[in-house]
Each structure stands twice: as structure tokens, then as C-alpha cells.
């Protein structure tokens, strides 16, 4: 009944909706869609440094995916993006959910904790990267200094120089930076749950775990949809933290290389490679774009369905 009422919009309402929708879309079209489409076109051309050469069809795409030089680098980096995604999903979003639940109960000092958890989020990524780089310095950084002070000398490591810990260190720095974001988004989601529902469940003798699993988690599904989609996109566009902390090469020996760094190196070069190739860079970016669009859409649709089901 409600729906049929809404399906007969007047001209006035149509104009109103157009007024709402047209300016944002026009803005996006001019400053994002148009430049991106031009950039996609670049992927089909050969490039001499920065000057566009002949049309070469799919050659750049083949090189990125299967070329002897580029493909191993790309797949190596892709794997690291996947690791980062999985790790951050657990640490950042999962941790955020747990923290939100603890804050939701408004224990002693929750106002302070709520402010504290969000402090790193407001810091600039450049600051966070530099800060942790200084802290993780093997000889003078506070991380190792603290371990020495506690007598845990054998735990001290050259964190960013050891290929077994470097990527993990970047992921933790990122989680430190951003965990407050999912925490506060989940908290907002939980606070929208009618308290009666939780009260009722409590009275039924539901234990903490069942309450979280069967009541809270499904009810914050809209928050989950947003957070997981944003994390997915963020993980595959990951650039600033690795750039600041381990440099363009994904040091040591590619163990922290991610697609964002590969793209930047390919398109803009670095001192040691000296090659700048907009064709390959655009091809990589186009593939990355398609990958993210397809998977993020699937993820969103799937998560959205959970929302509706409930």
C-alpha cells in the first residue's frame, strides 16, 4: 500500500529529486568519471616515457598479468593485499566490534575510552607512518627499548627489516591507526538497537555469546556492510602506510610490496628503476579497478541480503 502510494510521484517531486541528485552526479562526472575514463584509454597505448605512442590493444594488460618481468611482482603484491585484508578484517573490524560491545555497556570510564580509541584515527597517515617507523627503529626505537627494559632481549627484532615481521608491522600500524573507526561505527549501530530487545533476551537467560551472535551481530548488519566494504576497498588501495614506512620498493626484498606501490612505481618510476610507463600503470590500475568493483559489489550485495533477511 505504501509502495503504490510512492510509485505515483508528481512532477514537483520528480523535480525535487532531480535537484537533489543532479549536482552531486554532475560534480562526480566532471572530476572523477571523465578523468578516469581518459586514464583507462591510456592503458591501450604504448608510452614513450610520458608521451603517448601507438594504440597497442591489450598488450599492456597481457604484460601486467602474464609478462615475465611484471607478473611475478604483481601477484606477489596482490597476495600481500589479501593478507592485509584478512588480517585487518579480524584485527580492525573484529576488534572494533568487540570494543564497541564493551563500550556499549557503558562501564566505568567508558567516555574516556571512547575518546581514546579514536585519537589515532584523526592523526594524519603521514604522522602515523613516521611515528611507527621511528618507534620500530631496531636500535633506538621504543619498541625494542621496551623489550630490552623488560628483559625480553630475544624478542627484539629489526621489525621493518625482517621479511617475516615487516608486513605484520605495517598491518598492526594500520590497525592502530584505524581501529577506532569501526569501533565507533559499530557502537552507533548498537545504540540504535532498541534496548528492550536486549533486555528481553537477557531475561530469557541468553548468555553473552548467544546475545552477541544471535541478536547484536545481525542487528548491526548495516554497519557491517559499510565497514567491510570500506575495508575491502581500502586494503586493495593500500598505499600511504607502506610508502612512508618501507618505501616504494616494498623493502625488504618485496616482502611488503602491495599493489599501490607497484602501481606508483610503474606509473611514476623510482630512482632505482627509472622506468616510467603510463601504459602499464594504467593497465594495472584498470585491472585493479575491475577487481575491486566486481568483488566489492558482490560483497555488498551479499551483506545487504543479510540485512534484508533479518
Amino acid at each position: 500500500m505504501l509502495v503504490s502510494h510512492k510509485q505515483a510521484p508528481s512532477l514537483k517531486r520528480q523535480l525535487w529529486v532531480a535537484f537533489l541528485v543532479v549536482p552531486p552526479i554532475a560534480f562526480m562526472s566532471l572530476f572523477v568519471v571523465y578523468p578516469i575514463l581518459s586514464a583507462f584509454a591510456y592503458a591501450f597505448y604504448d608510452w614513450q616515457g610520458l608521451a603517448r605512442g601507438e594504440f597497442v590493444g591489450l598488450k599492456n594488460f597481457r604484460e601486467v598479468l602474464f609478462g615475465a618481468t611484471m607478473a611475478p611482482v604483481v601477484w606477489n603484491a596482490f597476495l600481500h593485499n589479501v593478507y592485509a585484508l584478512i588480517a585487518l578484517m579480524v584485527i580492525q573490524n573484529g576488534g572494533g566490534f568487540v570494543l564497541a560491545w564493551l563500550l556499549y555497556k557503558e562501564p566505568f570510564g567508558f567516555r574516556f575510552h571512547r575518546i581514546a580509541v579514536f585519537v589515532p584515527v584523526v592523526l594524519s597517515t603521514i604522522i602515523v607512518g613516521f611515528l611507527w617507523k621511528l618507534f620500530l627503529n631496531p636500535n633506538f626505537g621504543i619498541v625494542n627499548q621496551a623489550l630490552y627494559a623488560l628483559g625480553l632481549d630475544s624478542w627484539a627484532k629489526p621489525w621493518l627489516g625482517d621479511s617475516s615481521t615487516a608486513l605484520g608491522a605495517l598491518i598492526l600500524a594500520n590497525a592502530w591507526h584505524f581501529i577506532g573507526f569501526p569501533t565507533l561505527v559499530y557502537l552507533a549501530g548498537m545504540q540504535r538497537i532498541p534496548p528492550e530487545i536486549i533486555e528481553a533476551a537477557r531475561l530469557d537467560g541468553t548468555n553473552e555469546w548467544q546475545l552477541l551472535k544471535n541478536i547484536v551481530w545481525p542487528l548491526v548488519a548495516p554497519s557491517t556492510t559499510i565497514l567491510f566494504t570500506l575495508l575491502f576497498i581500502g586494503a586493495f588501495n593500500w598505499f600511504e602506510i607502506p610508502y612512508v614506512m618501507v618505501g616504494l620498493d616494498g623493502s625488504p626484498f618485496g616482502s611488503t610490496d602491495v599493489l599501490g606501490l607497484v602501481f606508483y612505481r610503474t606509473a611514476f618510476g623510482n630512482q632505482s628503476a627509472s622506468i616510467q610507463n603510463f601504459g602499464l600503470g594504467s593497465a594495472l590500475a584498470t585491472l585493479l579497478f575491475l577487481f575491486i568493483v566486481v568483488f566489492a559489489s558482490m560483497l555488498t550485495l551479499w551483506l545487504r541480503r543479510r540485512e534484508i533477511q533479518f
Binding site: T69, L248, S251, F268
Partner: protein, 415 residues
């Protein structure tokens, strides 16, 4: 909206015209560089140039080195960019010279090119057309910088052979002094370390054989040198795999380490941070007494003219000024960096030493010969040496990986 914009534009144009006529046909040149730390020197030189050339003013602008190439390329691709450009050499030069962004230089438009040795001009020459595109500004050498006071206190003299080096390092370590400040966390540091420590063991013949295709990187000379490097890395700074470039500079400048394997360009920096340091340099140690001791040299870059500049004549005048022995002398003595211009007078004793060492040199191999294609020899050397020094592959494996990468495009290796 449109009207306001037009009025604003008219006002801007008006004020531009006004200032233009008032200053009597002043030509303003823009000059881009990544050498932020040399700003005072360049301002000073510009002042001298402007005094000699009234009617031309030069605006010097600097950008962060790691982003310089991006900014420059982007500006050039969009048809903008400065009139005079500080460019790098070799493969890096090719990316901006090949699309025609730079004005070719010759003895007609820049007679001062005669002031330079052939090898310096070769560094700024495009391989495809054989034309020179920039006036070179500095020769760099990879060698070992050492702290004279620490050496004296430990009763050491600069080592000549590899065994002497190992013994000296052991002596220092026994006295609780870090022998080498070096770390390998910053990828490109691995290449400078190889240049500074292994050049004499590789030798000029090895370079000639690589160029002619008689040898490749699986050659025993290369593999053995890498093995020696692995050996000496026990004397690098503690936790060296996690020590990045600034930290190792820090360690050496603070007088906490005895040696630093790296570029001659480090010296000025060390002195600036700690003027009380008494420094010396020595070439890579030789395998056995009697071998020729070498440093690895290359040319840093040059000054080029934007092919699309509206002020080419003024820009050429400025570039010619940057190619004179007077400029080279000032450059060398102020910045403690060796200018390749012939006939300069060097005041600083360490720079004199560097200049003398540079007479016996091989190329800084990967930069000079293998930075033109992907995967660049530099990237291969850096990551594979880094991996080897972290104990994750043997010297043989590192050499094989480097060779495999270069062989994908280097014909002589494909046999």
C-alpha cells in the same frame, strides 16, 4: 559568475602587463631542482648570474627528491614545467629526453660543453640519437668514508686488502665500536654498499667482460665478491637488516661507528651534522696486495633546457653559466661535491682525495649500464643483496637471480 571571472582575469592580465612593462622586458626563468639542501648555494650563484646578465632573473624552486620525477614528468606532459631543469642521468634522463621534452645541446648553443670529459657528457646523452641533453653537474664515487679519530684511537690505518679490512673490523668490534654504520633496510643502500666495498674485487676487466658479453653475473668474480660482502656484514650496525638510511647516517655522524660504505656525497652531509668529525676516504679493498684499488663512479645528473620554454635564449645563457670552471669551482668548494668540469680548483682536502681516487675507477655498474629497462639491474641487485645479507639466499642464488632478470632484455646474456 562568468562576469566576475572575466573581470578577475582582466585584472590579473592588467597587473601582469603593468609589471611587465615597468620592469623593462625582464625575462624570468624558472629553475627546478630536488636539491633542497643546496638552496643557499644556488641562490648565491643566481645572484652572480643576474649581476652579469641584467634583464634575466632566475626563480629557483625545489621539490622533495622522492617526488621530483613525478612532479616534473607530470608538468612536462601537460606542456608546462620550468625553463631550466635539473635532471638525473642515464636511464632517468631517457624517460624525459625521449619524448622530446628537452632541448638538445651542442657546441653551437653551449660551447662550454668542451669543458667536460667525454664520460660525463655520455651520462647525459640519449642512446637513440647520440645527442647531449644536459650539462653535467657532479661526479660521485662510491667508496668507504672513515672516522680518522676512531681509527687513530684504535691504532688502525686505512686497510688496503680485504684481509686487512676484516682484521680492522674485528679490532674495532673487540673495542665495542660498531665497525660499519651501514644498514640494509633502505633498498638502494645495498647498491651503494656493493659499489663502496666490492669494486676493487670486481675490477675493470669484469666490467669490460660484462659489456662485451664475455662474462655475465654468474661469473666467479661477482659471486666471490658477494660472498665476501656477506662475510663482512657481521660488522655492520647492530640489527642492520632493520637499519634504514637515515639511521645509519645518524650512527656515523654521531661518531658511533668507524666506517660508512657509500657515496662521496655523504661527506658534506656528515660534516654539516657534526662539524667536529675528522673524516678520510679509502677505495674498496683489494683481494690481494698489488691489485688495482678502485672506486665506483657515476655522474649525478645535469642542467637541461625545456624544449617548450618561451625563454630558450635566456635559459641557454644560464646553462652556459652553469658549465663554466668558475661555477664548477664554487660548486665543488661550497657543496663539497666534485664537479666534472675540467680546470676547477679544489680547496677542501677530502674532496681533493675523492678527486684523486676517482682517477682509478670502474663504473657504478648497475646505474650506468643497466637502468634502462625493466627489471633494472639496480632493483635486482638491491633486492637480491638485501635478501642475501638477511641470510635468505646464498651468493650463488643472488647472482643467478640478478643474471636471470637482466638476461630478459640484455642480448649478450641470452646466449
Amino acid at each position: 559568475m562568468k562576469l566576475t571571472r572575466r573581470i578577475l582575469m582582466a585584472a590579473a592580465a592588467g597587473s601582469f602587463l603593468f609589471s611587465g612593462t615597468a620592469a623593462m622586458a625582464q625575462t624570468e626563468l624558472s629553475f627546478w631542482s630536488w636539491r633542497q639542501e643546496d638552496k643557499a648555494f644556488y641562490q648565491d650563484m643566481i645572484k652572480q648570474f643576474q649581476e652579469k646578465n641584467p634583464g634575466i632573473t632566475v626563480k629557483f624552486e625545489t621539490f622533495a627528491p622522492e617526488n621530483y620525477q613525478t612532479i616534473l614528468s607530470t608538468a612536462l606532459a601537460a606542456g608546462r614545467g620550468p625553463d631550466v631543469i635539473q635532471v638525473r642521468a642515464y636511464g632517468n634522463l631517457e624517460t624525459i629526453a625521449t619524448p622530446g621534452y628537452l632541448l638538445p645541446l651542442d657546441k653551437q648553443n653551449v660551447p662550454e660543453l668542451a669543458n667536460f670529459p667525454e664520460s660525463a657528457l655520455a651520462a647525459e646523452t640519449l642512446r637513440s640519437d647520440g645527442k647531449v641533453y644536459a650539462v653535467p653537474f657532479a661526479t660521485q664515487a662510491q667508496l668507504v668514508v672513515y672516522n680518522k679519530k676512531i681509527f687513530q684511537d684504535a691504532g688502525l690505518t686505512p686497510p688496503k686488502t680485504w684481509d686487512e679490512l676484516m682484521k680492522a673490523a674485528e679490532t674495532l668490534k673487540a673495542k665495542n665500536i660498531t665497525p660499519f654504520a651501514n644498514g640494509t633496510a633502505t633498498a638502494w643502500q645495498n647498491e651503494t654498499i656493493v659499489g663502496g666495498l666490492l669494486s676493487s674485487m670486481l675490477g675493470k676487466d669484469f666490467e669490460a667482460d660484462i659489456v662485451s658479453g664475455k662474462a655475465n653475473f654468474t661469473d666467479p668474480r661477482f659471486v666471490n665478491a658477494l660472498a665476501k660482502l656477506k662475510d663482512v656484514s657481521q660488522y655492520f650496525s647492530p640489527n642492520f637488516t632493520g637499519v634504514d638510511y637515515p639511521s645509519s647516517q645518524q650512527l656515523f655522524a654521531a661518531g658511533r661507528a668507524a666506517m660508512f660504505a657509500g657515496g662521496s656525497y655523504e661527506i658534506a652531509n656528515f660534516k654539516k651534522q657534526n662539524p667536529s668529525l675528522d673524516l678520510g676516504v679509502f677505495p674498496a679493498p683489494v683481494l690481494k696486495a698489488g691489485d688495482q684499488a678502485l672506486v665506483a663512479t657515476y655522474y649525478d645528473g645535469g642542467y637541461a633546457v625545456n624544449a617548450k620554454s618561451d625563454n630558450k635564449d635566456a635559459a641557454l645563457k644560464f646553462v652556459r653559466f652553469l658549465a663554466t670552471p668558475e661555477y664548477g669551482t664554487a660548486f665543488t668548494n661550497t657543496l663539497k661535491n666534485l664537479s666534472p668540469i675540467k680546470g676547477i680548483k679544489i680547496e677542501d682536502p677530502i674532496t681533493q682525495e675523492v678527486a684523486k681516487l676517482a682517477d682509478n675507477s670502474m663504473s657504478y655498474l648497475m646505474l650506468v649500464r643497466f637502468r634502462y629497462q625493466e627489471p633494472s639491474g639496480s632493483v635486482l641487485l638491491q633486492s637480491n643483496v638485501q635478501k642475501m645479507l638477511a641470510g635468505q639466499q646464498t651468493p650463488e642464488q643472488a647472482a643467478a637471480e640478478i643474471n636471470k632478470g637482466i638476461a630478459t632484455y640484455y642480448k649478450p646474456f641470452q646466449k
